[in-house]
Structures are given as C-alpha cells and as structure tokens.
C-alpha cells in the first residue's frame, strides 16, 4: 500500500516535470511569438560541392565538428549546407550552434582553446576576434589564398594577423533601421526618420495610436541587454551624434558631452516609446516584436529582413529598411559586424576542415546564404547579382553605402571582450535609469586600465 502511494507520487512528479520541461523546450525552439518560417527555402537549394570526387577520395569518412550560427534561421542554413557537403564528400559534419550572445560564444571558444581540445574543427568567429584567437588557428593562406581574393579586401585584412590568414570571411553585418511602411503612411509620414529625435517623435505618435487596438505595441525596439549587441547598438548612437568610437587613436574618448547627451536621450525613451523590458532584449526578442507586428521601428542586422518578409510574418510586405538615424549634428553610421570561419589548430582533421571552409565561403554558398537567410555577402561582386539584390534590398547603394564604424578591437586585441563588457554593462545601467554622467567616467577608467595591459 505504502509502496503504491510512493510510486504514484513519483510518477506524478515525473510526469509534471517532463511536461513542463517539454513545453519550455518546445517554446525555446519556436519562441512565444509565433515564428515565421523562411518561404524561400523551396526556391533555392544548397549548391553542389565543386571538386567533390577528389575531396571524397582523400577525406571520405572523416568527422568534423562545426560550431555554427544560432540567431534567426542561421542554424537551419548551417544544417542544410552541412548535409549537402556530407552527401557530396563523405565528410561527416556535426553542426553545433553557438550561444546566441556572442560574448558567451567567445567564452566557449576560449575554454576550448585553453584546453587544447580537438573537439572543435571549424568555428564561426566574430569580426572582432581574430586578434585574440590567432595563435590557436590554422593559417589558411597556403590553401585558400586564391579564394580569399574574391572577398572584400578590408575583411580579409581584418582576418590576417601577422601575415597569416587565420579566418575566411563568411558573411557581413551592419546595423539597419527596420520601419513599418504601412504605419508611416497611416500616421501621415512620407519618409523614415532622419534623426534620433525624429524617430522618437514618430514612434511616440504611432505608438499612441496603435496602443488603442494592440496593448503590446511599442514605437521602437533594439538590443538593450547587457551583452555584446549593446556595444554595437550604442556605438551607432554615439558615433552618429559625433561622440566618437569609444576609443579613438589609442585614447579612450567615451566620456564626452555628445555621448552623454545621446545616451541620456536614449534613457529618457525607455518605457516611453520602447518596451520597458527592452533593456533585456537581444536580437531574437527585437525581431519577434517587429515580425509579430508589435513595433513601428526596430534596429537589427540584415538577417531579420528574411524572417520579417517570410510567409507567416505579420509584417510581410508592410516594412522596409533604411540607414539608422543620426544625432542633431552628425551623420548616419552602422556598426560593422560579421562572421568568419576558422579552423582550430588542435583539430585532428585540419585538411577536411579546410575543405569545408572552402565550400562554405565559396561564391555559390554566399549567394545561397544571401538569398536564403538575407545575410550580407562578403564577396562584393554578389551585390550585383539580381536575385541577391531582389531578396536583400538593403544592398542597394543608398543603404549599403552608409558609413561603417568598427568596435575598438584593434586597440584592445586579446582584451576586447573584457573592455566590451565594461562598455555594455555601463550603458545597460544608463538605460536602466543611471545618468550618463555617473557611468561614463567609470567606463572610461576601466577602459584606460585595460588599454594599459593590452
């Protein structure tokens, strides 16, 4: 009798726990707001691997692990390409998505390299990391120098450390303003905002109107969480207001009047034209809010274009993209992002891994990525490809030629992650209510201290 009661109890607890975990796991893959699926997946298939027979003869049966994308449809794309590569070459590719917050992805790689682990063969690395990871990466120059020539010279330069090509450009990124064309028209605006104060005004008016029918509607969403994405967002605000780039010419410049003004202006809008919770938003939350029709304006990377215009998106055909607004006396800018593929020095299958990188960074694959996942190709000639431009209107010169600003990784080298943390933690505090004048001096002294060690 006692035993039976115990069994029932144990069973019940188990069942409820399982149900709860499953529902959360399911929600984790699809997210609370219903997620749009890419409509173009049927239209374009992963390209064939060139020279597959020769690769197959040499490396058939080897297994490699690829640390890939996790934001938007990035993981789906990785799986499709890896499966095509495996079918053609007989090299098995185990695709593991990295953490969505890139500073966490960085920490994972640090752990792997510090343990000299052979469990990673190929990894995607952020444009600000080659300096930190160069000693742990294979020089790709002997095998991929020819392919590197078709990529943008600036990015190849960033991936070259001490004369060694430690990574291959994979896709580019820059900040864009997404806006609802239908709502702009409805509220009598002819063009998207030019300045940040225009944006706040328009967002406030649209939000006031839309809240009557949709209580979760917000004027503007962006990435305000304390993570790498906020370092990128805030760089755009400050640089577009003429407040510098955190560190300029080796000197810490973050604490200046223009930076204070724009940061305080942003703070004053939190919970007003943005959701109060925007200070914990990353890319995915930003994209969900916009794609489910709950935001008039959003700052995000190009990948969102594909998701927001896919079947199932509530804003399909109702939005467009343009350059980000600027401060009263400044010009529009966009933070340079982008991802590279690198081969670990501790990989046991370096040659097979390099073949995978060769395929993934080839022109046909970048074309596939641009169309399937609306990512920015790192091969300039693809910007003239009609199909690519049709699916990625942001590649039009008016948007794509916006001035790029870079995060200060070249001054900070291996200390970049720590410095970026000081920046995004301080700015997150400002957005959460602290005044810019209380935080910027602290960030400044921390950055100076890190620079001395760099």
């Amino acid at each position: 009798m006692k035993h039976r009661a115990l069994l029932i109890v144990a069973g019940l607890v188990g069942a409820v726990t399982l149900a709860a975990s499953l529902s959360v796991a399911a929600a984790g893959t699809s997210s609370p707001a219903s997620h749009a699926t890419p409509a173009k997946s049927a239209a374009i298939a992963p390209p064939k691997v060139p020279n597959a027979a020769a690769i197959k003869a040499k490396y058939h049966g080897q297994k490699i692990t690829f640390i890939g994308d996790s934001v938007g449809n990035g993981h789906v794309r990785d799986l499709k390409l890896a499966s095509r590569f495996s079918t053609d070459t007989g090299i098995k590719v185990n695709v593991v998505p990295h953490p969505a917050a890139s500073d966490q992805a960085y920490a994972d790689l640090v752990r792997n390299f510090s343990q000299k682990s052979s469990s990673i063969d190929v990894a995607m690395i952020d444009v600000v990391w080659p300096g930190a990871f160069a000693p742990y990466l294979v020089n790709l120059k002997p095998k991929l120098a020819k392919q590197a020539k078709i990529h943008a010279a600036g990015i190849v330069g960033a991936d070259t450390v001490g004369g060694k090509l430690v990574a291959m450009p994979w896709f580019g990124d820059f900040g864009l303003l997404y806006y609802r064309t239908d709502l702009l028209k409805k509220y009598g605006y002819k063009a998207p905002p030019k300045t940040w104060s225009d944006l706040f005004k328009m967002a406030a008016k649209i939000q006031a109107g839309e809240r009557k029918t949709n209580s979760s509607f917000s004027g503007f969403v962006f990435q305000g969480n304390a993570y790498e994405g906020l370092t990128c967002n805030a760089l755009e605000w400050i640089a577009s207001a003429g407040g510098g780039h955190y560190i300029d010419g080796g000197k810490v410049t973050i604490d200046n009047a223009k930076a204070r003004t724009i940061l305080d202006a942003m703070r004053s809008q939190i919970g007003k034209v943005t959701p109060r919770g925007v200070t914990s938003y990353q890319e995915d939350q930003t994209e969900h809010a916009f794609t489910s029709g709950d935001a008039a304006f959003a700052r995000n990377w190009p990948y969102q274009y594909g998701i927001s215009s896919a079947a199932g998106s509530k804003v399909k055909g109702k939005f467009s993209v343009t350059v980000l607004p600027h401060g009263a006396a400044g010009t529009s800018v966009a933070t340079v992002g982008g991802w590279q593929l690198a081969v670990s020095k501790y990989s046991k299958h370096q040659s097979a891994a390099i073949e995978f990188v060769r395929y993934m960074t080839s022109k046909p694959v970048e074309r596939f990525d641009a169309i399937f996942n609306s990512n920015v190709p790192t091969i300039p000639s693809l910007a003239f490809d009609k199909a690519v431009v049709r699916t990625n209107p942001y590649l039009k010169p008016a948007t794509a030629s916006v001035a790029r600003v870079a995060r200060p990784s070249k001054f900070l080298k291996t200390h970049y992650n720590e410095a970026s943390k000081a920046i995004y933690q301080g700015i997150n505090q400002i957005l959460n209510g602290a005044s810019a004048s209380s935080q910027l001096p602290q960030i400044k002294s921390k950055l100076q201290q890190i620079l001395q060690g760099a």
Binding site: G14, V110, R111, S114
Partner: protein
C-alpha cells in the same frame, strides 16, 4: 574520525602497545581511501585555487606568461566595487529567500503532516516546482514576467491589480524581488520536505500526553514541536543558506551579465571565463570560500551551543 586516529594514552604494557598500534594502523588503512578521495576532489582543487590566486594566470596562457604576484589580486579585490556589490546582492538574496522559504516551508510541512484526505496527492503536488530543473523554471518565469506578452502582467492588468504592465525583471526596483520570488516558489517545497522529515520523528504520544494535561495547540507547537524540530531546522537553514550564497542559475537566466544584479558566483564566472583572468578569478573564489565558511562557522557554533 579523530577519535579513531588519536594515539592511545601512554600504555603500561608492551603487548597493549602492539595491539593499539596495530589497531591504529588498521584504522588509518581503512581511512585511506576516504582521505585519498577527499584530497583528490576537495583539497587538491582548493589548494590549486589558492595557489593560482597569487598569480596573474590568464585563460589563454600562451599570450601572457604566468607570474607570481603575491597579494596583488587581493589588494585589487579589496577595492573592487563590482565584487563588493555582488556580495551585498547575494547576501540580500540569501536573507530574503531563506526567511520566506523557512516560514512558508514550515507552514506547508505542518499542514501536510496532519492527516487529511488526499494527503499523498498533496505531498506530491507540492514537490512539483522543486522537481523542475532551475534553468527551465527560470526561463518559464522570465516569459511569464515579460512586460509585453507575459501572463503575470496580463492577469494583473485584467483584474485591475496592476494599473499597467511592468517589466519586473528589467526594472531595477523590482528585479531582486522577482528573482527572490522565483527562488522561493521553487525551493519552499524542498524546505517543507526537510522539515516534514523532522516532524515525522516526533513521537505522537507526546501530543497525547499534552492533550491530557490540557495544553492548547499553540502551546503544543511552542513547547513540543519547535524544540524537537530544532535539529531539522538547523540542517535546513544551513543547507538553504549555503545554497543561496552560491546561487548562479536563476540570476544568469534572468539578468545575464547585467552588473547591478550579479551574484558572487556570476561575477566569478564572468571574470574567469569571460575576461580570462584565472588568477584574479581564483582570488574571488577564495574570498567566496571564506565568506561561505564564515556562515558555516556561525551555524556550527550555534548548533553546539544549543546541543549543550
């Protein structure tokens, strides 16, 4: 352990000594595996951490050679406002959650200890929050507390308890409260379970005798239940306090790297893994170890006093 190992008092006869030394040798032999295991899993890592805390070791050690820096890390740590802030935040969290979990846990334990219909089911249901993995529970609550689509705000606004949606987690004025609420929701069942075990060993006849003597239920609680429950209460409080001081998962899911809501464990992790400062991170680990030891010493002394 120590009573076995202490050498015997000065022996009078030789045969006795032989026997004793043989026994002592056997005792040591029997203790050896346990000692080996403890030194391998506890003493060695702790010793290594203490050693590293006197160096400037970096995660990517190939870049900067490791050097002995003496007390430098501790001097920096002493003036580190982020660390001080994380200690305060963790202690606040510990104080709030332990008090609430204990009070609610005791009430629940008393209720499920009395006999009523469906008691078995009640005991099962009460364990559900504790059975859900913390990260899963934290993620669930993060969505429930969201300011745009969260169910808590939705219900609150509909029933006019809230005038407008609130960002419970993002807003610094409610972030500590929300994380405490989740921990209390999750861990109260565990406290109740420990206290229930304590309640079940109290002999029934004590209450019968008290009934005969005409003691009220309240008197029975203060004079019988509480004193006899004391050992269980102390174990529970030690468990919960030490657990709460090491908290990582709920805070990590809720706040990530947000600086004003970092616990000691999160600051430690982000220093070592994020910044790559192994040496400095080791110093933080040692400081955390000392802080937690302080609480253990307080509790153990308190327990000794009550035993006597």
């Amino acid at each position: 352990m120590s009573s076995v190992a202490t050498p015997a008092p000065v022996p009078r006869r030789r045969r006795r000594t032989k026997l004793h030394s043989r026994q002592a040798r056997l005792a040591w032999l029997l203790l050896l595996p346990a000692l080996a295991a403890v030194s391998f899993v506890a003493i060695y890592p702790l010793g290594k951490t203490i050693y590293e805390s006197f160096t400037n070791q970096e995660f990517l050690a190939g870049i900067t050679p490791t050097k002995w820096v003496g007390l430098h890390n501790y001097r920096v740590l002493f003036h580190d406002t982020f660390f001080r802030n994380s200690v305060i935040e963790t202690v606040k969290f510990t104080g709030i959650t332990v008090v609430f979990e204990f009070a609610l846990g005791l009430i629940i334990a008393l209720v499920v200890n009395s006999s009523f219909k469906g008691r078995g089911l009640m005991r099962a249901v009460m364990l559900v929050p504790w059975a859900i993995p913390t990260v899963v529970a934290a993620k669930m609550w993060q969505w429930m507390l969201d300011d745009t689509f969260g169910v808590v705000n939705d219900l609150g606004v509909r029933t006019h308890i809230l005038s407008h949606s609130r960002a419970w987690i993002s807003d610094p004025s409610t972030s500590l409260a929300s994380v405490c609420a989740v921990d209390i929701w999750k861990t109260t069942p565990f406290v109740a379970l420990l206290l229930l075990a304590g309640l079940q060993v109290i002999p029934r006849d004590l209450y019968e005798a008290a009934d005969v003597d005409g003691a009220s239920k309240l008197q029975q609680f203060w004079r019988i239940t509480l004193p006899l429950l004391r050992p269980a209460i102390l174990v529970t409080l030690i468990f919960r306090t030490l657990d709460a001081l090491r908290v990582f998962d709920v805070f990590y899911v809720f706040f990530g790297q947000r600086p004003d809501t970092q616990t000691m464990a999160i600051y430690n992790q982000s220093t070592i893994v994020g910044d790559g400062h192994v040496g400095y991170g080791a110093a933080i680990s040692v400081a955390i170890f000392l802080i937690i030891s302080l609480f253990v010493v307080i509790y153990v002394t308190f327990m000794r006093v009550t035993e006597e």
